[in-house]
Subunit: 340 residues, 4 copies
Amino acid sequence: MFSFASDYTQGAHPAILDRLARINLEQQPGYGEDPICDSAKEKIRTACQAPDADVFFLVGGTQANATIIGGMLQNYQGVIAAVTGHIACHEAGAIEAGGHKVITLPQENGKMKAADLEAYLKAFYADGTYTHMVIPGMVYLSFPTEYGTLYSLEELTAISAICAEYNLKLFVDGARMGYGLASPACDVTLADLARLCDVFYIGGTKVGALFGEAVVFPKKAPAYFFTTIKQKGALLAKGWLLGVQFDTLFTDNLYASISKNAIDQAFRLRDGFKAKGYSFYLDSPTNQQFVILENDKLKELEQKVTFSIWEPLDANHTVVRFATSWATTAQQVDTLLEMI
Amino acid sequence: MFSFASDYTQGAHPAILDRLARINLEQQPGYGEDPICDSAKEKIRTACQAPDADVFFLVGGTQANATIIGGMLQNYQGVIAAVTGHIACHEAGAIEAGGHKVITLPQENGKMKAADLEAYLKAFYADGTYTHMVIPGMVYLSFPTEYGTLYSLEELTAISAICAEYNLKLFVDGARMGYGLASPACDVTLADLARLCDVFYIGGTKVGALFGEAVVFPKKAPAYFFTTIKQKGALLAKGWLLGVQFDTLFTDNLYASISKNAIDQAFRLRDGFKAKGYSFYLDSPTNQQFVILENDKLKELEQKVTFSIWEPLDANHTVVRFATSWATTAQQVDTLLEMI
Amino acid sequence: MFSFASDYTQGAHPAILDRLARINLEQQPGYGEDPICDSAKEKIRTACQAPDADVFFLVGGTQANATIIGGMLQNYQGVIAAVTGHIACHEAGAIEAGGHKVITLPQENGKMKAADLEAYLKAFYADGTYTHMVIPGMVYLSFPTEYGTLYSLEELTAISAICAEYNLKLFVDGARMGYGLASPACDVTLADLARLCDVFYIGGTKVGALFGEAVVFPKKAPAYFFTTIKQKGALLAKGWLLGVQFDTLFTDNLYASISKNAIDQAFRLRDGFKAKGYSFYLDSPTNQQFVILENDKLKELEQKVTFSIWEPLDANHTVVRFATSWATTAQQVDTLLEMI
Amino acid sequence: MFSFASDYTQGAHPAILDRLARINLEQQPGYGEDPICDSAKEKIRTACQAPDADVFFLVGGTQANATIIGGMLQNYQGVIAAVTGHIACHEAGAIEAGGHKVITLPQENGKMKAADLEAYLKAFYADGTYTHMVIPGMVYLSFPTEYGTLYSLEELTAISAICAEYNLKLFVDGARMGYGLASPACDVTLADLARLCDVFYIGGTKVGALFGEAVVFPKKAPAYFFTTIKQKGALLAKGWLLGVQFDTLFTDNLYASISKNAIDQAFRLRDGFKAKGYSFYLDSPTNQQFVILENDKLKELEQKVTFSIWEPLDANHTVVRFATSWATTAQQVDTLLEMI
């Protein structure tokens, strides 16, 4: 039985494994202080048009979120996220375990609205007792969001301006960055992110790598961020394993081209469901598609293919998620569409 | 200019200061291991009809909340609170600084509803990915709430039963406990709390003491709770200062009788405002009264008396809070009522 | 039975209680934002010859240590202390609970030596892997030390210079500050401390107050230190209680004069023991005297008077501590000396 | 230039990469809930003769240490380690960042002595103020130690008995476990560790894997340890990557046989240095050899080969470390020996 349960069900793009096998027994310095990491970082700087960026490679998403937030915030500060933000609900309290409150704002299609952010901040600083509360120090956005949606350049620019006004860091979680950038609905580039954010990461785990997230500080990393990584248990001894993966992904546009495949297959899947009369929970322009299934249909379908139960919609319907990835084949989508 | 801004604008009931002055130069062992604390604890056990209770004295409310939660929860657990709960919004992230997420549920008049709690827990454990999330380990209630309202015995019993079913500790923050118990609307006793809760505290800071909260574990304190107190920086060297205060408050029913004064004056204040046509934000049976003022009236009134701005209601009206206390005089209320 | 067990066995200097009783029912703003605190802070600035100092009042020593260290250090930093420093051994891990390693250096008579500090720092930064370790961010000294000893002005100056060179904050725990300043062996003043330190506190709990420590940042407090205090559960609702105490202690030289009494009685005690042939563990110029007792003598004496068992010296002897205080009377010392 | 700088300079045993390449595009469930992990866990249970053991796979050593300690200790507890233990000095304060003090005991050749442990615990509980201190909750040992030395079965048994007596968890960090077990000097087996410890891990990063540590709780894992892993940012999305590696290493005795190579080459290296008259800092029976070099010789040699500077011995000599690994060839050792 095959799976649309997530975009991390398979290993790495074969080009990564090939290269890994070739250099497997070469000796490398530890902890990312090797020439392969250097090369990968330089390619990422170029892709981001951020020649002075500090780049670090971490292993996974929750780890990246906790390490970045822990490294950038002061202890009296919290991080603002949409109530559906990954750090707000699906990270087992990793951010709070690091001492920081996640301050939640309403979401719409998984997105935080600039107007809500501004209203919150205005009200916060208007309250005479605000020093008795967690001081907002950062805004966390997911791009794409947990619902597959995208911030437009205009939206991102507005949020970035509010962050600047209220002295907040802007952090974009790009665990699925490739699938965002590859969407025809996207008008944001890595260079835009580098210009508008204080930090973001480019996800590898879900986009072609075995594992790995490339953290980019377009201006400058916080002091001793390497030590923070070590303290968080996030320092990979063989850091070059991360370097190899990102160096490969950022060679010959591989990251973009394999991301494109996920979008193409997601759209074929979406169109196929629509053609058969299915409704969608929302309109997602990326690799996650949220379909409304009748519960009987759901029970039937889950005998044949794996997908994610998202949430009950009403007594008779459930929202489910089908995720495509860099590795999804047209044939898998065809087979799925035949089943429904 | 006098103040209805809070219930902690003045020192202690004179009986406390008198006794303190009498024993000031007697030598006592440190850290609460003295006979005065022993006596106070015994009186509290009696008042709670909980002969086996472990009792500890802490200095303040946020400190008590952080110490109790930190001492009772495992690191993977969070605490459930109404979104208006003190720990959720006004403690500068003290709970998160201790590593625990505050999981918020909707509130109605400052109260958490048993039905909402149960629905949350059912949905939580129905989600196949719940081990990726903070595990709920405790329910936090305020009695009275931050809006002066009270849980009925029936409501508390229902919440306690849900806690038992889902293996949650039940913790009641009683920073204003006296004002709850003294309300004619209250059908809950200290003995009920001891029966229904795993831990609660009886507030002194706002109810007749200079400072201090008496933490009661009706069954048993967590292991090494004394060490947890020390680790949280919450161990008072001269612990007998807390003992003296609670021993006095729990002698001759003083705690109850001075709490009653706050209620009497609050009701006079309420009735006086009502008589002059003012509306209330909600119906509070305790010492905090939430009045709706026209903004012009507000500006005029704050030249003459101090009170708390709670929140804007609409463009022309604001919710303000008047708090009475054990020390409020009938004359103060009269003077206020003349002003309005 | 009377006690030399510690310098915090009794309440406050009567002048404090008198004043407290007089203003007990006056209404004050909360959280230290009152005119009494303002006055006390100004007196402390004057005493420290530090007109721009930020002053905060906290309740106790461990709380002050944890709050100051948590407020001044970044998460990747640790604090250097003598192995006998209070934060290193007697605070139940409060500093580590806040996320910071206590890096211990050898002690001599309770003091850290500038040479040891410099050697440690040189070796630390000479190690090519130092970014894998906790970065030293602060030096913690006690003045007087846990063994009653004092840093000379020359020693403090040397340590301060090393701190400046290696970008470390210098923090002096003055829980017994008065007893240090009042010693004839002391050549350090509050003004020296203000010049040489980044932060220090002037202890009240052990020197005439019911409780309280006055934290002085001679240059500037860390951003949002008020919020840090709240987050640590260290914000006293009735902050004016702390203001009253320090305002009284810093009026008419009271802090110095009552401290002097402790020294006078400690020296009488010391001389009395010496005259009877007792040996001392070390030569303490302040209010803590460390006497070597034969174990039989110890057993006999502890039937009559309370003191602290410090540590076994050898199979037959034990080091014990006698502490005098602002409240110790000449008669108590005489009685003790008759017993031995 | 080749390197003896560490045992993690190269990738994985080729059998691992081969298998990874074969299954790379197969779809697997996430987070270690896959059949490959199940198989690997079962093989490890068998190797440990611990059929009821709970096994988890983590990515690296510091991460494993912080996650295990954080998952097993209560907040008021600390962990006892030799002063040279990895958690005490080389993990950037990861344990303290999780809130726990590392309580250090003296070391001898990198080992904690049972007698020192027992003396510490006796003295600790004999001190009447012990509840003011961090309560010891765990003993941390490294096997082999950071100096390549090994605890004998007798030593481990003695420490385990003390742990049982004083209610301490016993935790063995086996980042280099294979190199310990493969030493002819070793009389300890995985089954012994499973019998004597509460938790230990079998290192992969340094012993044939790309990365990974297999954490074994011989009796039972702490409640919600999966959630703790997630909270620590230590949950690998593609957990099967860890399963594949350990399943391969524990097939056909591969872990033992490749570990043996490191020992054989280390001993050839040692004998070669000895034959040329070099002294050793201590007698290591495993893959890390600590040679004393004259500083001139050191400078000459580091032009030709990479190794680790350990510490200065005296003005003219330095201790350096040569580490072999599963991948070290006889030819590399020969070449090195020709250089010296």
